[in-house]
Amino acid sequence: MGLVTPGLGLIVWMTIAFLIVFFVLAKYAWKPIMRALKQREQSIDEALHEAEKAREEMKNLKAGNEELLKKAKEEREEILKEARKMSDKIVEEAKSNAEGEANRIMEEAKERIHYERMSAVTELKNEVANLSIEIAEKVLKQELSDTDKHQELIKEQLEKVRFN
């Protein structure tokens, strides 16, 4: 058996062995292995994809939350502002109302005082007038006996009245 001369027997055995190993392994090893590798590749790919999607969703959710929080804050701010405004307005209104009322009361009081005073004065005047007439009557009754004296008294009385 030379080193470089191929032997027919060996070629035949080699062919048989190679064909056996090829057909057996192709059916029971290579194809299942390739299928499994492909399947695994796919499942890994899918898992990665899903993780990516979940992360994206999480991000969106977080962004939504933040948006919501921001909105709530703004709303609160607005409500507070409004409330402050409202309270200010109420206080202002109350103040102006009170002032008006006070003024009105004052005015009323003043008016009343004035009116009272006037009525008092009028009453007094009437009283004085009545008194004067009474006095005059009395005096007249007295003085009419004495004409001179009458005249003097009338003068005097009138003088007094005029002073009032």
């Binding site: 080193l3 055995w13 062919t15 192709a26 290579w30 194809k31 499994a36």
Partner: protein, 369 residues
């Protein structure tokens, strides 16, 4: 994963180193044997050439060791087709008594050929035709061991893939997966193309792992390794023949058009003398031929170099025992180095053979340029 691969390589080389001591013994014993054969030679001498050839050649028995005068061998079945009598003859090689005796009219020559002899003598009978030798030789046994190993390994791996397709690889599976993926993606997909590679993957897987396993088994220096499988021209010829057949049977019309009517070549190269088609047809044969020679020569050379270094010890040892021990230091160191290199070569040659096969297949199935 690569680390594990290296680890395996390391184990193999450790075993390899250990086995050098064993093979040293073997070589030594054989030098003793050749002395017996050549009793007329006055001085002790070591015939390194014959020893090395004896190790890399095919044999009808599996020699394990020789201790003193006793040869420890595994006899292998001999199957002959006798053309004169048109019948198959089968018997164990032990009947030849290492070539000292004839059996059923045949004898074993020094070069491990089986020739017919004249009845009752050891003379070659030239009147009879030489039988066709279908024996289970050492190489055939090595092929069977490779096949059994491949079946065991990949059936186990495939079982795990079937059971847990979505799980991370484990054990033997994780040792083989990088190789499987390497062959599938870097050899198959890259060379043949995304669409068509799957059809050829079983063939390429078988090719790659057969060569790789056979190379590694060839590096183990003792039974059940040590058979020079891929360093045998018949084996590489068969592998190359498969490449040739698969390539040409899967060739599409563009492939054959390229062969018989190469585009972009002036017409006078094709007619009246079809120079270009002849060149192209020759190319179809030279491609697998080169594959055959490359694998054969690389593996054979590796085996010869390792054996050469070991033989050096005994060549020096015959002249002076101390010189022999001195040289053994260097020889073993170099053998270890070459053995590591051979581990690399075992992989590279499997890769190159499969890659080129895939490239040829890619050429054969690709659509028009």
């Amino acid at each position: 994963m690569l680390l594990r691969f290296n680890k395996t390589g390391l184990y193999i080389s450790i075993i390899g180193i250990l086995m050098f001591f064993l093979s040293m013994e073997t070589v030594h014993a054989e030098s003793g044997e050749s002395e017996n054969h050549q009793e007329q030679s006055k001085e002790k001498s070591v015939d390194a050439g014959n020893i090395i050839l004896g190790h890399v050649q095919d044999f009808h028995e599996w020699h394990i060791a020789t201790i003193g005068e006793t040869h420890i061998t595994i006899p292998l079945p001999i199957i002959l087709y006798d053309k004169d009598q048109s019948k198959l003859i089968a018997f164990m090689s032990s009947k030849f008594h290492h070539g000292h005796e004839s059996y059923k009219g045949f004898k074993l020559t020094d070069k491990s050929n089986i020739v017919p002899v004249k009845p009752g003598t050891m003379e070659v009978d030239n009147t009879r035709q030489k039988p066709i030798d279908f024996s289970i030789t050492k190489t055939v046994a090595g092929i069977f061991i490779t096949v059994i190993l491949m079946l065991l390994v990949f059936m186990t791996v495939a079982k795990r893939y079937k059971q847990n397709p979505d799980r991370a690889p484990k054990g033997l599976q994780s040792l083989m997966e990088p190789l499987i993926l390497f062959v599938q993606n870097d050899i198959g997909k890259n060379s043949i193309g995304e669409q068509k590679y799957e059809r050829f993957m079983p063939f390429l897987f078988t090719m790659f792992f057969f060569i790789f396993f056979a190379n590694l088994i060839g590096l183990i220096p003792f039974f059940p390794g040590g058979a020079n499988i891929t360093g045998n021209i018949s084996v590489t010829l068969t592998l190359a023949l498969f490449t040739f057949l698969v390539t040409n049977f899967s060739g599409n019309k563009y492939y054959w058009k390229h062969v018989f009517n190469t585009p972009g070549v002036p017409w006078w190269l094709k007619f009246p003398l079809p120079l270009m088609p002849i060149v192209e047809l020759l190319g179809l044969i030279t491609k697998p031929f080169v594959l055959m020679v490359r694998l054969f020569a690389n593996i054979l050379a590796g085996h010869i170099i390792i054996l050469g270094f070991i033989s050096l010890i005994f060549i020096f040892g015959v002249t002076n025992a101390i010189a022999g021990y001195g040289v053994s230091l260097f020889s073993v160191a170099f053998s270890v180095f070459i053995n590591f290199l051979e581990l690399l070569v075992a992989f590279i040659q499997a890769y190159v053979f499969t890659l080129l096969t895939a490239l040829y297949l890619g050429d054969a199935v690709q659509e028009s340029h």
